[in-house]
C-alpha cells in the first residue's frame, strides 16, 4: 500500500506543473523525428510564450497522428508524402499549399517546408562519382558495368528499385540484397558501387558519399514540415512565428544528415543534437531519464493494471465458472483481446483515452485479463464435484461456499494465472512507451531509433529483472494466499 501511495504521489507530481500554458510536442520513434521534435520543443521554451511538454518516441504515424487529431498533441514533425498518402489518402495532393487546404477542415495546419527531404536516394563514393562524372541518376544509366547493393525493402517496393529501373532505364552489372546497415561498409570498401540510402542518413556525412540527383523526379516527395493544430497558431502566434523563422527553409538534407549523425554515430542525445543546431553549447534538457524514475513508472504501469485486472478478472472468472455458456463467451472475448497485436491495441486506445499512461494502463489491463479469467474458470471448474456437492449438505452456501471452500481449493491454479499475467505484463508494459506511457520501454524505443544495442539493453535488462522480481514476490504471496496443505511443500511432507 505504501508503495502504491508513493507511486500515486509521484505520478501526481509528474502530471501537474507550473501554471504556464503547455504546448505538447510529439515525435515518432526514429532519430530524425526525435531531433526535429527536440528542436521544436527547445524553440518553444526559448520563446517563453508556453512550456513544451515532450511526448517523444510514439509508435508510428497511426499513433502520433491520431493523438494530434484527438487533441492530445499540438505539434509534431511529419513528411508531405506521409500526409498525402497515409493521412489524407490523396496521393495526388503533393504541394504544401494543397495539403494545408485539405487539413484545414480537420483543425490542422502545416508549416512551410523545413528544407530537407527524407526519401530514398542512390549514393556513390565521391571518388567514383567524380571519376565517372556522375551527378544525376540519368547519368548513372550510362554506366551499366557498375554493381549495386540494396536492402530488401528497396529492392521489392514499387517506389524502390523496380520502378526506378523502368523510370530511368537503369541497368547494373550485379545487384545484391544486403542489410541496410551493411551496405555502407560494402560501399566504403569498394565491393559495390551504388547503394540505396535515405537522403538525410547520418552515414552520408561521415562516409563522404555523393547522393545522386533525382533529375527526372521518380522518388515521391517526403518534404519535412511541422504538422500542428490550428489552435496552437492562434493561441501562441509568437511561438509559431519563431518556429517558422528558425526552422522553415533552414534545415537542408546535409544539415539534417549531420544532426542524425550526431545522434546515431556520435552517441549524442537528441536534445544535444538539437541544441547544436540552435547554436547552443549544452542541451536545454537531457533526453535521458534516470533509471529510478523509469523503474517507478514501469512498476506503476504493472501494479495498477494488475490490480485492476485481478479485481475485474476474478469476478469474471467466478461468474463464468457458474455459467458454462457465459464462460464460452467470456473466454472468447478475452481471447480475442489477446490476439490483437500490442501496438494496434494501444492505437485503438488513443481516440478513447488520449496518449500517456491512462491508455497504456487500460490496454495492459485488457491484456492481463486472459490468464486470470482462464485460470479462475479452470481452477473452479476442476474441483472434485463430490466435495462441491457436500457443501450443500453441510449448509455452506453463497459467498461462504466461495470463500471457505472453492477459492481456497482453486487458489493454486488462480495464483498461477495471476503470476503468469504479472510476468507477461512487465514485458508488455515496455510497449507503453509507444504512446507516451513511460517506463523501461522509453529506453528500448530510443535504442531502436539509434540502433544502439546498449540503450536497448538498458531498458530490456531492468525489465527482465523486474519480471523475475515480481515472479519471486508472487511465489512469496503464494505462502500467504494458498493453503499450506495445497502447496507443493505441504504435500511433500506427507
Amino acid at each position: 500500500m505504501t508503495v502504491i501511495g508513493a507511486l500515486l504521489a509521484l505520478s501526481a507530481c509528474g502530471e501537474s506543473g507550473p501554471g504556464a500554458p503547455v504546448i505538447r510536442v510529439g515525435s515518432k520513434s526514429f532519430t530524425e523525428n526525435y531531433i526535429v521534435a527536440e528542436l521544436v520543443a527547445q524553440i518553444i521554451d526559448e520563446t517563453g510564450e508556453a512550456r513544451a511538454e515532450r511526448h517523444l518516441g510514439l509508435g508510428g504515424t497511426g499513433i502520433v497522428y491520431t493523438a494530434l487529431a484527438a487533441g492530445d498533441l499540438d505539434i509534431y514533425p511529419e513528411y508531405t508524402g506521409t500526409i498525402a498518402q497515409a493521412i489524407l489518402k490523396e496521393p495526388s495532393a503533393t504541394s504544401v499549399e494543397a495539403l494545408r487546404t485539405r487539413l484545414a477542415p480537420r483543425g490542422l495546419t502545416l508549416s512551410d517546408p523545413l528544407g530537407f527531404d527524407n526519401t530514398y536516394a542512390l549514393a556513390l563514393r565521391r571518388d567514383t562519382a567524380q571519376r565517372l562524372g556522375v551527378r544525376t541518376i540519368s547519368e548513372l544509366a550510362r554506366h551499366p558495368t557498375l554493381t549495386g547493393a540494396f536492402d530488401a525493402g528497396f529492392l521489392e517496393r514499387e517506389d524502390g528499385w523496380p520502378g526506378l529501373r523502368r523510370h530511368y532505364g537503369l541497368r547494373l552489372a550485379d545487384v545484391r540484397i544486403m542489410e541496410h546497415a551493411l551496405t555502407y561498409a560494402a560501399l566504403a570498401s569498394g565491393r559495390v558501387d551504388v547503394i540505396d540510402v535515405f537522403s538525410t542518413d547520418g552515414q552520408l556525412a561521415r562516409l563522404d558519399l555523393t547522393v545522386l540527383v533525382d533529375d527526372r523526379r521518380f522518388f515521391p516527395d517526403y518534404t519535412a514540415v511541422l504538422l500542428a493544430r490550428r489552435s496552437l497558431v492562434e493561441r501562441h502566434p509568437r511561438t509559431w512565428a519563431a518556429l517558422s523563422d528558425r526552422l522553415a527553409g533552414r534545415l537542408d538534407n546535409q544539415a539534417m544528415a549531420r544532426l542524425n549523425a550526431l545522434a546515431d554515430l556520435e552517441r549524442r542525445t537528441f536534445a544535444e543534437a538539437a541544441a547544436t543546431f540552435l547554436g547552443r553549447a549544452g542541451p536545454a534538457r537531457s533526453a535521458d531519464r534516470p533509471l529510478g524514475r523509469l523503474t517507478l513508472e514501469h512498476l506503476w504501469l504493472v501494479s495498477v493494471s494488475m490490480t485492476v485486472a485481478v479485481l475485474v478478472g476474478l469476478p469474471l472468472g467466478i461468474l463464468a465458472a457458474r455459467r458454462p455458456r457465459l464462460a464460452q463467451l467470456e473466454l472468447m472475448g478475452v481471447g480475442v483481446l489477446q490476439t490483437i497485436p500490442g501496438l494496434a491495441l494501444l492505437a485503438f486506445m488513443i481516440p478513447l483515452f488520449g496518449i500517456g499512461q491512462l491508455p497504456a494502463l487500460v490496454a495492459l489491463c485488457l491484456y492481463a485479463l486472459l490468464p486470470i479469467v482462464r485460470n479462475t474458470v479452470a481452477g473452479l471448474g476442476s474441483l472434485d464435484p463430490r466435495l462441491v456437492e457436500m457443501t450443500a449438505v453441510l449448509g455452506i452456501d453463497g459467498w461462504r461456499r466461495l470463500a471457505w471452500i472453492e477459492l481456497p481449493m482453486a487458489s493454486l491454479t488462480i495464483m498461477a494465472g495471476i503470476k503468469t499475467s504479472a510476468v507477461l505484463t512487465v514485458g508488455t508494459a515496455t510497449l507503453a512507451a509507444f504512446i507516451g506511457g513511460g517506463g523501461y520501454g522509453t529506453l528500448i524505443v530510443t535504442g531502436l531509433a539509434l540502433n544502439d544495442v546498449a540503450t536497448i539493453l538498458a531498458g530490456a535488462i531492468p525489465s527482465a529483472v523486474m519480471a523475475l522480481a515480481i515472479h519471486a514476490a508472487f511465489e512469496a504471496a503464494d505462502r500467504l494466499l494458498v493453503p499450506r496443505a495445497l502447496r507443493a511443500g505441504g504435500r511433500a511432507s506427507e
Binding site: R386, L387, E389, M390, A392, V393, L394, G395, I396, R400, W404, I405, P408, M409, S411, P483, R484, A485, L486, G490, R491, E494
Partner: protein
C-alpha cells in the same frame, strides 16, 4: 421417518430409479443393499435434496439437517481435521467455544485421537479420514444419518474395526440411520431392515432372515449366495 412413494429418476435417459417406494421408521437402521448401479446412492441424494426425482414424492421428518457420510470421508484438503469437522457448526453460526466443546465431545465417540485434529486429511489413514467424516456428520446432532458405503475403501482390519465401532455408536445414538452397501455381511451386521435393489428397482424389503429364507425372486437368493464364504472355509474361522 423417511418415506419415498413411487419415486422414479432418469439421468440422460438411463433409468436410475424405477417406481421406488420405501419407508424408514424413526430410530431404525435401514440398509439399502445392491450392486453398483442399483440406485442405492441416488436414493440417498434424493433424501438429501441433492437430486430431484422425476416423479413421486419424498418426505423426511423431522425436517432438519441430515448427517451424511461418504466413502473416504469427502474431506476438504485445505482444511485441518478440526476445521473440516466443525464446518456445519461454523455454517450454522456457532461460536468458537461451542464448536470446540462439541468437537472435544465427539472425537472420542468416533474413535479419533485428539492429536490428529491439527493434521491435514492427506496425513491420515483411510479409516481415520472416515472417522472425521462421521464426526463432521454428527456435528449438529442430526436426527437422520445417511452412510454411503462407510467402509468402502478400507483395508480388512481397519474395516472390521470401524464396523464394530459404527454398530456400537449407532446403537448408542438411537437415530434414524440409512446405510448404503453392496456387502451382504455389512447388511447383516447393520440392518434391522434391508431393502435389496437391482437396476433401480426394489426387489425385496425385509429382515435378513426374510431375504434368506423367503426370497421374492430368484435374484435375491443368487445375490446372497454370491457373497457367501465357502462352507469349507467357515469351519476354520
Amino acid at each position: 421417518m423417511i418415506a419415498l412413494r413411487h419415486v422414479s429418476k432418469r439421468f440422460d435417459g438411463r433409468v436410475a430409479l424405477d417406481d421406488v417406494s420405501l419407508t424408514v421408521e424413526a430410530g431404525v437402521t435401514h440398509v439399502l443393499l445392491g450392486s453398483s448401479g442399483s440406485g442405492k446412492s441416488t436414493i440417498l441424494k434424493i433424501i438429501l435434496g441433492l437430486v430431484r426425482p422425476d416423479t413421486g414424492d419424498v418426505r423426511v421428518e423431522p425436517a432438519a439437517r441430515i448427517g451424511y457420510v461418504v466413502q473416504e470421508g469427502a474431506l476438504y484438503p485445505h482444511l485441518t481435521v478440526a476445521d473440516n469437522a466443525i464446518l456445519p457448526a461454523r455454517a450454522a453460526g456457532w461460536r468458537l467455544d461451542a464448536r470446540r466443546a462439541r468437537l472435544d465431545a465427539l472425537a472420542p465417540l468416533v474413535g479419533l485421537e485428539s492429536s490428529l485434529l491439527l493434521r491435514y486429511p492427506h496425513q491420515l489413514s483411510g479409516g481415520q479420514r472416515q472417522r472425521v467424516g462421521l464426526l463432521r456428520a454428527l456435528m449438529l446432532d442430526p436426527p437422520v444419518l445417511l452412510l454411503d458405503e462407510p467402509l468402502g475403501s478400507l483395508d480388512p482390519i481397519a474395516r472390521a474395526d470401524l464396523q464394530a465401532q459404527l454398530v456400537a455408536l449407532i446403537g448408542q445414538l438411537a437415530r434414524t440411520v440409512v446405510v448404503v452397501t453392496h456387502d451382504v455381511r455389512e447388511a447383516f451386521v447393520f440392518g434391522a431392515a434391508i431393502t435389496l435393489l437391482d437396476r433401480g428397482r426394489v426387489v425385496q424389503h425385509g429382515t435378513f432372515a426374510d431375504l434368506a429364507t423367503r426370497p421374492a425372486e430368484p435374484f435375491v437368493a443368487e445375490f446372497l449366495r454370491a457373497q457367501a464364504p465357502p462352507r469349507a472355509m467357515t469351519q476354520y474361522l
